[in-house]
Amino acid sequence: MMRLGRNGPIVLLTGLILLVAVAMPALSGTSLEVSRYLANAIGQLAAFAVLAISLDLIWGYLGILSLGHGLFFAIGGYVFAMYLLKHSFVVTGTVPDFLQFMGWKDFPFYWAGFDFFPYAFTVAVLVTLLVSGIFGYVSFRSRVGGVYFAIITQALVYVAMLLMFRNDTGFGGNNGMTGFSVLFGWQMGTSGMITALAAGSLAVLALVLMLCRWLVGSRFGALMLATRDDEIRLQTLGYETLRLKLIVWCLSAVIAMVAGMLYVPQVGIINPRVLSPELSLEIAVWVAIGGRGHLVGAVIGALLVNAVKFWLSSAAPDIWPFILSGLIVLVVLVFPNGLMDLAKFRLTRPMGPKRMAEEIGEARP
């Protein structure tokens, strides 16, 4: 059971995030300027951290593991890519690659209005709520939970991937969508734009972090933890857990969708690979490594794992899967609460499995 009163780490982390967000634009032009590559990497890491928070909210605080959060991430990413392409088309007249590839003369009808961002954003939110709402309702209503839920969400994201791989859906097919040139009227790819996107992503991360902190610290958050720890008892006491689970699930989906929106303009491409079950599993790994049930842990886990991944995928791409699988085994066997376990250890007694079990407080079989 986590202590609700401790605000220290989260304030510290939020402050740090905001500091970087302010420092990056402020330092541009000076000798300490952040390189384009680094700024871009920071921005992507921030998007991943938002994604990790969204999963931590549902897994860490409600005990429901989703292996399909890539789906909501992709909804945000695809809608933002549609906005960017349509906007670029309106401003510069560039015809997207996939239209030429398919030999289509015009955008499909459901692209109408996507050059207007508020409309695109509304569509993204509505689609996310629709998909997560229907799926969550039918699953929670029939009490599908635990491993079953995880497996079915994985199948969901897999099927969505197969669907998006088709070229005739009007969403770019297996090549995906790329070639974004203009964002909100400004040229993309410039240093200023990259820094602005990274700073914006960090700001959104800080905002999401504070919002979730407020949520889990509220009475509602206490109910979430109660549902996670003993749902049947809570129901016996007269609480309706279906609605609670559904609300958190949809909120989590929307946050994942926002992460997708932050991610796409920074990598400059979206394709069905973001829907692969591996990515969705990896999100769970970030949270597990950082420590589920701790917002700070989720953020640190996402930042740390992805920073190592960025570094290794250029330095030694073949080693990365081995390191990742080793990390997962280490976390699930030795540090069930991830890095948070490390933070709890006081180095007065030697660390043995017995003491670990004591400190972690989780019943071992």
Binding site: L65, V147, A155, V159, L162, L281, F322, V332, L333
Partner: protein
């Protein structure tokens, strides 16, 4: 008395039988050569005689006449005062004795009308007499251009003598086409009936082509025969397609069943979904490949039987991996099933990458032993292929084996007891930890067998496991945990639905619809088709 009459009858029969053969022997060799050197009309008669010889002449006559046809086409026949010489003065055309040309030899030129006749004769000789398969095949190509001119009987005798199975089939096909285009209406109707006996899309095209034939409008009998044949072939094709769909569905279901049964046992027992199950399938296929390579070096005579010899090896290798996985990793995670998902995913990531590093990403090459190659054409375009039959038979054996272990052995009894109520089973002295380990090993071994059965059908590479894993999860979710009957039914259902939908809307739509159906189904029965009566975990 009786004996004498019998002998007489036999003698008469012999005369009747051999009479046509005797008559065909009388090829006028000198006359033929003379006509070859004559005017266009004489050459035409000679060409017809050559074609007749090719169809029904004796072996000696054909050996005599074949070089003549070739020589006229190549303009290597030299007509001189003493008859003719072959090869520009090498041999006499009639006696085939070496002699020089008398005077200046003249090479007769084929008219436009006669050339096709001689080419036909040449091809007919080649089809019956050429030593190489390629030459006979080329001759058949020439004949195919003019099916109506092919003399009766030529193709039947050629097909009977043909040693190459593929070419023999082509000759038979051409024989039917020729008969369809024969001049005698009764022969044509008979031919139509014969074509309709083996319905296929090719037969349908051939019969459909006859509808534009003048006889179709003129001759009502012909028309009726064509229409009846079309209807019969269409029925046959429809039946064949249905059977082919069911057969493909059955083989897909077999694969699904083998991939899922181990998963279902493990999930029922421990509540753990093994995300590395697909990789255990992949390991099973690679072990099969290693056995094949080992046999190639150690015992090449047994190479054909590698699929059988690999059965224990694949089972034991994957079972050992499974037991190690359980003892080192999952043992500590039974109270945390969600973490076990991540842990087994880490294992799958590790296995995929270690195989990729060791063997590379390319598809592995497998021998195709005789018992998994080819097939029996049944009806329409449905071919009963042996490689799919192998998978189906293998699945049935696996099913029997699993059923036997779970129902008839002490281990199976313990597995069922622990599945129903772990705590109570432990109370009455069942070593639950040991049972977990054995069951995990058994389930993993079954995955290895699935990999073996897959290797003749699917491509084997490090990524292959991921193609099956989600489908087999769906089988487990639909079938209900830990029941063999549920797994069988769910595999059959998902397999058949997949192949039924695929031709209509494509493979992706099939997967989408199957997933939606499963989600809808879980509304009605959240525990799957067959829920084990026991405590809900």
């Amino acid at each position: 008395m009786k004996l004498a009459r019998l002998t007489a009858a036999a003698g008469l029969l012999a005369v009747l039988l051999f009479a046509p053969g005797l008559r065909a022997d009388t090829l006028d060799r000198a006359g033929l050569v003379q006509e070859l050197c004559g005017d266009a009309g004489a050459m035409g008669r000679a060409g017809t005689a050559l074609v007749a010889t090719a169809a029904s002449g004796s072996a000696e006559d054909r050996a005599f006449a074949a070089p003549l046809a070739r020589a006229v086409i190549d303009r290597k026949l030299g007509c001189d005062d003493a008859g003719a010489v072959l090869d520009e003065g090498g041999l006499d055309a009639i006696t085939r004795m070496p002699r020089a040309a008398a005077g200046t030899p003249r090479s007769p030129l084929l008219s436009l009308k006669n050339r096709p006749v001689f080419e036909l004769a040449d091809a007919a000789f080649a089809l019956r007499g050429a030593p190489a398969v390629a030459q006979r095949a080329a001759a058949l190509k020439t004949l195919e251009r003019r099916p109506a001119q092919i003399p009766e009987g030529l193709l039947d005798t050629a097909a009977a003598a043909e040693s190459d199975a593929g070419l023999k089939e082509q000759i038979d096909t051409l024989a039917q086409t020729a008969a369809l285009n024969a001049s005698d209406p009764a022969a044509r109707i008979r031919a139509i009936g014969r074509v309709a006996e083996n319905p296929s899309r090719r037969a349908l095209t051939r019969i459909a082509a006859l509808e534009s034939d003048p006889a179709y409008a003129a001759n009502p009998e012909f028309r009726a025969a064509v229409d009846a044949a079309t209807a019969r072939i269409e029925r046959g094709i429809a039946l064949g397609d249905t059977l082919a769909t069911l057969y493909n569905g059955l083989s897909f279901a077999s694969i699904l069943f083998m991939a899922a049964i181990g998963l279902a046992i493990i999930f029922g027992l421990m509540g753990v979904i093994n995300l590395a199950q697909g990789e255990l399938i992949m390991i099973g296929a690679y072990v099969t490949w290693l056995v094949q390579q080992g046999l190639r070096v150690a015992a090449p005579a047994l190479l054909d039987w590698y699929l059988v010899l690999a059965i224990p090896v694949a089972f034991l290798a994957t079972a050992a991996i499974g037991i190690a996985l359980e003892a080192l990793l999952l043992r500590h995670l039974y109270k945390r099933p969600l973490m076990s998902l991540l842990a087994t995913w880490a294992v799958s990531l590790f296995l995929v990458n270690i195989v990729r590093v060791v063997f590379g990403t390319q598809n592995m090459q497998f021998e195709t032993p005789f018992y998994v190659s080819g097939g029996v054409p049944v009806i329409g375009d449905f071919i009963f292929t042996w490689n799919r039959m192998f998978a189906i038979a293998f699945a049935i054996v696996t099913l029997a084996l699993t059923w036997g272990v779970v129902r008839k052995t002490p281990l199976g009894l313990n597995i069922r007891a622990v599945t129903q109520n772990r705590d109570m089973a432990a109370c009455i002295g069942i070593p639950t930890r040991r049972i977990d380990m054995m069951a995990f090993g058994f389930g993993s071994g079954l995955a290895g067998l699935a990999g073996l059965a897959l290797s003749p059908i699917y491509s084997v590479n490090p990524q292959m496991g991921q193609n099956f894993i989600i489908d087999s999860f769906m089988v487990v979710v639909l079938g209900g945990v830990g029941t063999i009957a549920g797994t069988v039914l769910a595999a059959l259902g998902i397999g058949q639905i997949n192949v039924l939908i695929e031709p209509l809307w494509g493979a992706v739509a099939a997967k989408v619809i199957v997933l939606l159906m499963i989600i809808a189904f879980l509304q009605w029965r959240p525990e799957g088709l067959f829920a084990v009566k026991g405590r809900r975990k």
